[in-house]
Symmetry: C3
């Protein structure tokens, strides 16, 4: 009645049990994550169908910042692979009864979960968890530090439109100072050979990024014609205590991608945005809904890279390559 | 070890991918929904067991008004058919970060969901979604406009107690002005041949409903002896800015179904209420818990009609009648 | 490819459909619950894998007090056995629209659920539900009355470290006045033959417990050397209107388990706490993380006893020992 979709082979070289940041991953590891994500996307009809690679496993979301999109993306990735999910959040939880963060996480682990996905306003929180827990830890955003699955999904999206990331010029535009998405893109893209420009007002883009080898630009118009990809970051108004620019209008005037600027770009430019987008601020409807926009593909690829990460990480904890009972990781090939 | 329950045959005449309102459905389409709902109820031991007709599919709830009951009813209907569910709500979501409603919905769709179930205070919102999305859209209540699955479950409940809806007299009592449940009942019942009376204080029941062919009554006592069914709507106090009647006591005095009024009804009168009920306001405990009350049957039938709608809508998007991998719709018969 | 894990035999002596309190259970019933919990823990690799004993069943959480831990523990227990779960809570629910508690519960039951798990600030609420509902009712905490699964998981944890509960001396330390955990431990432990001491300041430990046969102590230091188990209750600051002791420091000084007190205990003392723990109040990090602490084992055992309760209760509602379709209880042996 059906043909079994082709499943990825478990890469014997994969050893990591946690996904904390892209900065410390090797180019090979990132490539493995992207390859597996692509295979799982293909095997699930574009992330729309279910395969039971991880039946019996359980993912716990432990989010200390509001999130619907990322949280649900992880949950859906787990469910697509047959795993169960359970939600913990800071509101109404034991943390408000005086429990420490680590005790909360260890309690969740003791309920038998295989992955803890965590978002926290403090950079390094997932690293702390990874040292204390035996289950897999995934960083879903730690302060302004990293958001590795966002970086991976952005890279997967580019790779689906280009033969290689090597040699591409990718500009990250907007609030670099507060963006963990920017950080993960910067490290990940550079490891795979792309040239990265960070672009935005001087209040949001430090010139010292040049010391780490990134190109810094304060004028979008100056770099437009050199870019293969523009990744338009949302201005995170909720994180500002004072305004980093005179007005939203002023920002949009200098940095919004609009039809006029599009005409000065390469003919095959890719327009990306991590979302949620603010139409009229960093992007106009003409561009967001135009033929160069791959914004919704990024969302779908978010499921794919999260499926890949869940499968790879938990497989690295298995003693051997044989699948255990219901909860085992089927390692094909 | 088991006998496979009889499953409904997929009706080849069904073409719709969205369930937005009953007003635009044909009598045949409504009958198909009710027939399939009854078959699925029977096949699941009264909506208490699971059949995997829709394994691998995903339902997203996108609710912009508080709801536990309807939201969970849709979720349970999906789970009874083997589908997964994911919850989005307005609080803490990307909408509060400046994202448009359509962008939120398209993002959810890009995560690979098959159905978006939506509730919104603005009439027409689900129709807007249906134009923009490729997945199935179900209206779980749009302002005071319609709540089609509520209408269907009310009709299914009546049909389980009567050979036909044609020729029955059904009174909807209470706050017609604010009730989407009333609207869906009115259109649906009339299409299947019932005579519909809308009854309540003049502040809540416009005389102009007569122009659309409905009977208007302001005195419950005047119509009691003619009714086969009374559907007692809750006074939605949370929607009023000023009181539409002098006091709750005054309302109850004129419109509450109580034991005294029951004795003036037909001997086989059916007492319905969409719930949550306010005991002592629109209904007394004697009536709510009495032998004519089918209020809890309505709740069970809510699962049945939602299962039917999910199965019918998603089947209409399949290219052919052959089931796909895990996520396919099994179309028996 | 796999060996089927050994599944417990359904005990033919089990007749209860509800788990409301330990006070009214017999020693045999408690032992059955603990035996089945241990078997299910073993069969699921320490509560980390899934067995489909209860596929097609649905658990509803109906919590009127905040809870993440207990709620998720019940949900995970259900999922580990293949059941689905649905969440109801007081916020945003129909109760705020004027619905009675019983009507809410009956509505949930009418959606076809098999278990209602309830937590409520009013003692006796689950007993009320059990009288009104046909599905299984589990008490997840009713005021200061009982929290039976917490009592069971504490007893299971002790039993995993000792040949028998009979003859052991177990001290419950802290806020006995407000603790449903204390109540369930007291009744359960005594039924299985343990000697129970309740220990804490006179404002939190009534001398009248002696009339019911429990030993009362106001000095932890006086009883330390006699105890086999110390169960350290959290001071539930959120329940106090006035302070029951001069300061947290004063409380910790007299009742906190610390390294110094540990050295005066039996060499195989077990340190337990229902969690969340307040480090530095009732327990110091040295003790919480020390070799005698079984606090995280308690969490895992919580899944086990809840799996056992769900399986036993729903099995008692089956007419015969034959499993029904998907939703049947497989009764092995």
């Amino acid at each position: 009645m059906t043909t079994t979709p082709p499943l990825p082979a478990y890469p014997t070289t994969w050893k990591r049990r946690h996904l904390l940041e892209l900065e410390s991953l090797s180019a090979d590891e990132i490539t493995t994550l992207l390859d597996v994500a692509q295979q799982l996307k293909d095997a699930t009809d574009g992330c729309r169908r279910k395969i039971s690679l991880l039946g019996g496993r359980t993912l716990a979301n432990l989010f200390f910042e509001n999130s619907t999109r990322t949280r649900n993306s992880f949950s859906l990735a787990a469910k697509r692979l047959g795993a169960d999910t359970v939600e913990f959040s800071s509101a109404g939880s034991s943390v408000s009864k005086g429990e420490t963060f680590i005790d909360t996480a260890k309690t969740i682990q003791a309920m038998g979960v295989d992955w803890v996905v965590t978002r926290h306003q403090t950079p390094g929180t997932p690293h702390l968890l990874a040292r204390e827990l035996e289950c897999c830890v995934l960083n879903a955003g730690d302060g302004a530090h990293e958001h590795p699955t966002q970086g991976l999904l952005d890279m997967l999206t580019i790779r689906q439109h280009r033969p290689s990331l090597a040699g591409l010029t990718v500009a990250l535009v907007g609030d670099i100072a507060h963006s963990r998405t920017a950080r993960s893109n910067m490290w990940g893209l550079r490891k795979l050979g792309a040239h990265v420009i960070v672009c935005g007002p001087a209040t949001l883009v430090s010139p010292r990024w040049t010391e780490l080898g990134f190109e810094v630009a304060h004028s979008l118009d100056d770099i437009l014609d050199r870019c293969d990809v523009l990744n338009l970051l949302r201005i995170q108004f909720e994180r500002f205590q004072s305004r980093p620019f005179p007005s939203v209008h002023e920002y949009a005037n200098r940095y919004a991608m609009n039809g006029q600027r599009m005409r000065r770009c390469k003919s095959d430019i890719l327009i990306m945005a991590p979302g949620p987008i603010n139409r009229g601020v960093e992007i106009t409807p003409e561009v967001a809904d135009g033929p160069h926009s791959v914004i919704l593909e990024q969302v779908t690829n978010g499921i794919a890279v999260r499926m890949a990460a869940l499968w790879l990480l938990v497989g690295a904890t298995e003693e051997s390559s044989t699948a255990a009972i219901t909860g085992g990781v089927s390692q094909h090939g």
